[in-house]
Amino acid sequence: MCGFVCGSGAGVGYAVELKGVTKRFGTFVANDRIDLAVRPGEIHAIIGENGAGKTTLMNILFGLLQPDEGEIIIDGRPMVVANPRVAIGAGLGMVHQHFKLVPSLTVAENVFLGMEIRSGVFIDHRAQIQETERLSRAFGLKVDATERVGLLSVGIEQRIEILKVLARGARIIILDEPTAVLTPQESRELFQTLRGFVSQGMTVIFITHHLEEVMAVSDTVTVLRHGKKVDTRPTAELTKNELVQMMVGRSISFDRRRRETVTGDTVLSVRDLWCRDDRGLPALRGVSFAVRAGEVVGIAGVAGNGQTELAEVLSGLRRASHGSFRIGARDLTGASPRMIRSAGVAHVPGDRLVRGVDRQSTIAANILMGSQNTPPWERRGLIDWPLVRDRSRKLMERFDVRAPGPDTLVKSLSGGNMQKVVLAREFSHDAPCLLVDQPTRGVDIGATESIHDEIMRQRADGRAILLISVQLDELIALADRILVMFSGEIMGDLPGDDVSEESLGLLMAGVRTEPEEAAVA
């Protein structure tokens, strides 16, 4: 690996070099002694799962955050990037994930906002428009300089953000998940633009968690995982499968749980399910599967391939555009979350802070959610709070929630303990069907083990469990079958006791093969 980077780096010098950059938030280490070397004139992709530390690293480079340790060298000069102005002065530009444009102003006005071209005390609108058009032509970023931004699509807005960066003289351009908001068509156009930049001698660093994008456009790729750098490699030397391995890793290996095979009746059956994501693009494309009682069915996939949307549709939080699903014999397509809950579905959501808990409320109030209208918690129109507290105390003990008592506010808990509150609530409903989305995200090893134990206990009790996880070792340890999702489709259905990370990796990368062939590859 070193041969490539060191060899061609000799005498050339790097456009950007980070040495031993460390950033801590409290006890959480977001970046752990990261080294990064970006050669001038290359497209350098930084890839990693959510929370791997990509954005933090780029925010440090751009002066939005200060590192606790480490060195930043730009064009061979060591620098203290105290704020973004220093970074811009050094030739850096950053296009953020969330755009910062003024909708009521024109394209040209937005591009020059804060650095207006003046004639006397007035803004020279004509010069601004001409300059915007010049940049637009030079870099192939088609825009109408006189149009109001509020009327434009997201793809065009991103072009304007890039023009803003160019107008400030950037030669090293950082893009944070630039394709997250784009359609596939717009993404391809963006990649062409990026290619154009490097052909003009500029350097591009872009953050992503999509493998195909790395393969499609980058020269070099750096993989981050859990705040650490895994490796930097020339893209051409890598296969998608290797990249998946590097991203997902196998640092924690859980043993596959021994268990009896109990075959029960089908509890959850999903038929040809389609839905759209928040941008209106297809997120699920014809997903069909079934989960039986006493079975754990795992859903594997790189984050953002429709897994979250699947859980949302099945819990009533998102509309299916086509297809259906049943619990037992009952068709629940399009039913409200409350109906689905009362039909016997419990849901551990993927993002506990958004959906899983109310941080302002007590543990008891969080445990109550979903059963506030059912006896014995509700009696004669009133909530039996002493009973709820009592119940919460017992659940806190069983799920090892470390907190003074049921009246503790959830916001004072650590992430792992919050997650245990969510599990305590959802697993205690005695629901025949459990949707479990990323149960151990951000949870330490010890707690992870106990959460896994609890999932297996639920399985032994005859629940049908759909387990969505981006951690392969978790799926391999727990699941009876593993379905692999890629861009809204199920790529394969593998038996849990005969599966390798390699065969899963290929499917996760969108390569459709028979399991046997995959194992050979």
């Binding site: 938030f25 939080l317 409350r338 009362s342 808990v357 109550l368 909530i383 506010l409 916001k411």
Partner: protein, 346 residues
């Protein structure tokens, strides 16, 4: 320090700060702050009659405050309490004049119709909020103006009593809300307000629906996930809030004025919203803050008689309190969210 006590401490400090600024203003207009504050206190609490007067002013502020509390609890902002009060008052007066009934029934019908009118007045903003997520702050504020001007139009052009004043004729005595003491117009409306505040507090704490609304107000996505029908609950919360706003008008109409006139209730609705904000949306706390605003109002009456300071000084002090309390609120919120960001954004 616990969450709640930190909040109360912060706001007490903010009020103190506002009173200090008020002192500066009083000095600038050439009055003695000591004399002004002493007169204010004297005017508000100096004798049984004055205390009754203070409570008389407190009543509509309290009821309006409870109306606002109900909406705040659900994470919604009914700033249209003033308009609901006007509509409720006007509707109650019509019942009082035109539908003769035995005493108790007459009052009850008047109050019920007042609540229905308040509810009807918030129905449109509530529907658009629940169905299309149209910001209820804007629509309820705007509906205030319509309510005030519409009732004023009806009073002047349709229901005006013969004679000079822009007011309706008197309601029938059978519709009077009875007074508590012989020496004041203070009526049972105060008791209604107090019972309501306690009742709303208990409702939110101890019923499943109150729980659902509370959670919705704090994390709407969590409530949705937990099976709370968000649209329905938004609709219910706003309608209930509007009904209580209408009730405030009914109490003013049947208990105090016994008729409807232009400028029926000068800013009680707005004071109520502020009292509720100051109490952090807590109905019991609103009893205290409403009393505070009621005392400022009634104390300011004596202020004009006894000192050179004008009654507007009180408006200035009130505005200062609002400013500093909201500043404190925003600072605390920002502190919270920054702490949250430090922990969760990376």
């Amino acid at each position: 320090m616990s969450e709640a006590s930190r909040r109360i401490f912060g706001q007490a400090l903010a009020v103190l700060f506002a009173l200090m600024l008020g002192t500066v203003v009083i000095i600038i207009v050439g009055e003695s702050p000591v004399r002004v504050f002493a007169t204010l206190f004297e005017g508000a609490f100096g004798s049984p009659e004055r205390i009754a007067g203070t409570l008389l002013q407190t009543t509509p502020i309290l009821v309006c405050g409870v109306a606002a509390c109900i909406s705040f609890r659900g994470g919604l902002f009914n700033i249209g309490v003033e308009g609901q009060l006007f509509m409720g008052g006007f509707a109650a007066v019509l019942v009082g004049i035109y539908i003769p009934l035995p005493p108790l029934f007459h009052v009850l019908l008047g109050i019920a119709v007042a609540m229905a009118a308040g509810m009807a007045w918030i129905a449109i903003p509530a529907f658009f909020r629940a169905r299309y997520n149209a910001n209820e702050v804007v629509s309820t504020i705007l509906s205030n103006y319509v309510a005030v001007l519409l009732t004023s139009y009806f009073t002047i052009f349709i229901f005006k009593r013969p004679g000079g004043w822009s007011e309706t004729s008197q309601i029938l005595p059978s519709a009077y809300l009875p007074e508590i003491f012989s020496f004041s117009r203070l009526n049972w409306g105060l008791v209604v307000g107090l019972v309501l505040a306690v009742g709303v507090h208990l409702y939110f704490r101890h019923t499943p629906r109150g729980y659902a609304v509370t959670i919705m107000g704090q994390n709407v996505k969590f409530a949705e996930y937990g099976g709370v029908d968000i649209r329905r609950h938004i609709m219910m919360v706003l309608l209930a809030s509007g009904a209580v706003g209408g009730l405030a008008g009914g109490i003013e109409a049947l208990g105090v004025h016994h008729r409807f006139m232009e400028g029926f209730a000068p800013g009680f609705g707005f004071d109520g919203v502020i009292a509720a904000l100051l109490a952090n949306g807590h109905p019991i706390g609103t009893i205290g803050t409403a009393l505070f605003f009621g005392a400022l109002r009634s104390g300011s009456l004596l202020l004009e008689v006894d000192t050179n300071a004008s009654r507007e000084i009180i408006t200035v002090i009130q505005a200062l309190i609002i400013l500093s309390v909201s500043a404190e609120f925003i600072m605390r919120r920002r502190g919270d969210s920054m702490a949250a960001e430090r922990r969760w954004k990376f």
